[in-house]
Amino acid sequence: MERNLALIALFAALIAALGLIPKLTLAFGVPITAQSMGVMLCGTVLGARRGALAVLLFLALVALGLPLLAGGRGGLGVFASPTVGFLIGFPVAAFVTGFIVERWRGNLALVSALASVIGGILVLYVFGIAGLAFMLDKTLTEAALLVTAFIPGDLIKAGLAGGITSGLARARPESVLSRG
């Protein structure tokens, strides 16, 4: 109980910290924010339920008014902005990612990367695109066009999330709860 609670809280803090440190160069010299990778990692490391709870906790603190989203954004305004769908999708994305890693007992790096693609991109974008379509009063196809530019970057993050998860499994084997 205490361990679950502490891990959930610390991973919520990790998502926040990944948005606070300066942008990292993830690939090809392109600096992108690592925050959505934090959401994937919550799923791949903590598993479905705990991962989703960590992301929910993070979102609750954003709503309470802490500037924890990348770029120092936060407060209730972000839940009224066009990207609200992505925020709503975050916990679901972490849940789906974690669920796949828990059930599919293959190579951890590969499974985590694929789970991140399905949960952290496919599922997340369904929510994100629906949110954009609603907030901007566009059709789903039109909204989807607006976000295609971000998919390559997210594919890189999913691949990295796989590598990071297997690295963590070697460094702290007993803490990768998705395979516990």
Binding site: L5, A6, L10, F11, L20, L68
Partner: protein
């Protein structure tokens, strides 16, 4: 940690947080219920008046926090400019600006402690059912406490990377950062158990 509450105190700071949040949900619901550019324009003017009532400095800070919307406003302008649905474009723009501005207004004029108090009172029915909300309250405190700590540790990792390598810091530092988070979590868990645990 710095919250988004405005350091410039205005009249709305002393209004009750629960009332502000209730009015905000009603207003947001109303904004999405109408398509009329005129009604939405009135709403936008009302939101603007709220900001102006807080003085120039407050209004300027409010304007700054709307900046994150410009890519979307640009997309709407291009889109509706090309398709010729100008009235619809104006309605979407006004609704977006007003909804975000009103939500930001509540965040800017409500202290973190008041927000937490509202959350706590919303959870009262859960407590009455016999479920403990202590885990939630404790984890909120833990995140507030550990986010700056982890961010500082991440900053240290970035700096030691810079000392060793001419290249820019990369994703590699996320592994030690996550490992540090796990180590902190294990220690916190042990400390909680040592103090009698969650029961």
């Amino acid at each position: 940690m710095i919250s988004l509450t405005s350091p410039v105190r205005i009249w709305a700071h002393s209004a009750r947080a629960g009332v502000k949040l209730g009015l905000l949900s009603l207003a947001t619901g109303a904004l999405f219920a109408t398509e009329s550019p005129v009604l939405l324009g009135v709403a936008a003017a009302g939101a603007g008046a709220l900001y102006v009532s807080g003085g120039t400095e407050f209004a300027r800070a409010g304007l700054r926090s709307l900046r994150l919307l410009w890519p979307f406003l640009l997309v709407i302008a291009i889109w509706h400019g090309l398709t010729g649905q100008i009235a619809a474009g104006i309605a979407v723009t006004l609704r977006l600006l007003t909804a975000v501005a009103l939500a930001n207004f509540v965040t800017m004029t409500t202290q973190l402690s008041d927000m937490i108090a509202v959350m706590s009172s919303l959870l009262a029915p859960v407590r009455r059912l016999g479920l403990s909300t202590r885990a939630l309250e404790l984890s909120v405190a833990l995140v507030v406490r550990f986010t700056p700590t982890l961010a500082r540790k991440g900053q240290d990792l970035v700096e030691s990377w810079r000392a060793r390598s001419p290249r820019r810091p990369g994703w590699q530092i996320v592994i030690p950062m996550a490992a540090l988070a796990i180590d902190d979590a294990e220690q916190v868990a042990e400390a909680l158990r040592a103090r009698g645990g969650m029961e």
